[in-house]
Symmetry: C2
Subunit: 327 residues, 2 copies
């Protein structure tokens, strides 16, 4: 993906090569002496897609200290954040009763919710253990803060399930916690491991958080509008599970009382296709894209004075890609 | 509980007092700025019962370095292991579809599986983050190894769900991983924090692991034989969920072919009461108790040269209590 994002960028090639090292750490860590555990781990490896979070760790490290600063700790922490991300996917699929992920069956649909719950726990545990093998306790603290907030975001989202009065501010608070704090953490960790000072770590973190928010908005739009064959995972789950996403929040806030009554009825009976037509007609998809675009522009501005050269080009390309990706 | 175990033991009183400090750390850590998260955390606090694992941390510390060695790190790590334990309870209740825990409704039955899954994740995350606030990276490594093994034990148990051919050796391997490694870790961590050398840490760890195994056998017997009003949680779940427990494993291995055919049919249709009658009649409950008693005796022998005085008396009383408790 990196190479197609920035084909002339030699840093993109260098990071692309290191992602193989990250995948190796990931696989090696998720190898157990128990065949039943291995089988589940091999299945979850298929979820590994774009490796956006490991890329953020590596690209942020390169921005802070150059490509030569990318050492073993970067690969390890990149594998750690990917494990955390995988754990959230596995547990989210239980919550969402999803059946398809990356074009394959989900763990919960194949092996039951029980195996999916425990496999997610195993991924979290492995991630924290792996993080502790790098002799820097502040990394475990950073990771712990990230996952605390991430879980709070998921719990906040659950508390607002079916809440048709969800405000845009609350929507963004949920997204900040459940998605953006991890992508921001990736950038802060990568920069820290390459020797960035606190100010630069914070700037990179803000950049990563913005990317996470833009990414989530795009995810929302794809869940509403996408085809399962293109997106590669179960779509239409948000409305089916009573989750208000940004296009719907915008639609409800801007439409007429009559349209609002219609939309609420469609939301209440989880009628995705009727709601989708109304959301498209009111221009709320376009509005959601506009919000995402503005957040991507803000993200790019955060890189001023923080990244330069090929690292800057790469981070800018990654920022643009969050809102143009088809899946 | 400690005071009733060893009423004349001044160390028991000292540890009892420190448990209030552990509870305070626990509550303080599980306080969020989000009301929805707080509500769930206050509910899970009601699960906090005997605090066996925090007691093991404190008693092992006192055995290694005297009561004066018990400082803030002991309280923090005691809260950490209790959080991990709570997380396993919350996720186990999802897996077991249990409705009652400590005489109250379970999180999953009150708020749904989704909230229970995320609350368990939150507890795990909080535990690792709290552990990392003690400036000793080896503690995070110890904790990570414990939780890795714990999850493997749960996954191994799931892989053998409905497996009527489960061998006693596999049963003990499951129990070692899912239960004993945590209680062993409590003792090793407590001893380590009080300055014990590696050999003494290992002896205390073996003691704690044996206690965990004996505790689990007693749990198995209570699930088969107990009344919900006494045990305080849903009983009969093991057979209902296709889990072979030690009394049933012993029964199947020792009964006649005809009795075995009956027992397998009862297990297959999850008929707990018929199976219970047969297990009692064949003396398999008594055999399970005998196994647990032998493990408790082995645990006590591990304390030779490792603990003395009031600390020894207290640990011996805790060992005995694992197999005499009614719940």
């Amino acid at each position: 993906m990196l190479r197609s994002l920035a084909p002339q960028n030699s840093l993109a090639n260098a990071i692309h090569d290191r992602l193989a090292g990250v995948a190796e750490v990931f696989t090696q860590q998720l190898t157990s002496d128990l065949p039943a555990v291995n089988e589940l781990c091999r299945h979850v490896e298929k979820y590994r897609g774009k490796m956006m979070r490991p890329m953020l760790v590596l690209a942020s490290g390169a921005a802070a200290g150059g490509v030569s600063s990318l050492g073993r700790p970067h690969l390890v922490l990149a594998a750690v954040v990917e494990m955390i991300h995988m754990a959230t996917l596995v547990h989210d699929d239980v919550l969402d009763e999803a059946e398809v992920r990356r074009g394959g069956r989900t763990v919960n649909s194949l092996q039951g919710n029980e195996a999916a719950v425990m496999l997610g726990d195993y991924l979290i545990s492995k991630a924290f253990h792996l993080c502790s093998t790098i002799d820097d306790p502040s990394l475990n603290q950073m990771l712990g803060r990230v996952t605390n907030t991430l879980c709070e975001g998921e719990l906040l989202q659950l508390a607002h399930r079916g809440d048709a009065a969800l405000l845009e501010g609350t929507y963004f608070e949920i997204v900040r916690r459940k998605t953006a704090v991890l992508t921001g953490g990736c950038c802060a960790i990568g920069a820290r491991l390459s020797g960035a000072d606190a100010e630069r770590q914070l700037a990179m973190q803000s950049f990563g958080e913005d990317l996470g928010i833009a990414f989530q908005i795009q995810d929302d739009v794809l869940d509403l509008m996408g085809e399962v064959g293109v997106v590669g995972k179960t779509v239409g789950r948000d409305i089916a599970k009573g989750k208000l996403t940004l296009p719907v929040v915008i639609h409800l806030a801007s439409c007429s009382p009559v349209e609002r009554a219609h939309a609420l009825a469609e939301f209440a009976r989880a009628d995705g296709s009727a709601l989708r037509d109304a959301v498209v007609a009111s221009g709320s998809i376009a509005q959601a894209h506009k919000r995402a675009d503005a957040i991507v522009e803000r993200a790019k501005r955060r890189l001023t004075g923080v990244a330069e050269g090929e690292a800057l080009d790469l981070l800018l390309a990654m920022a643009d890609a969050t809102v143009t990706r088809p899946a």
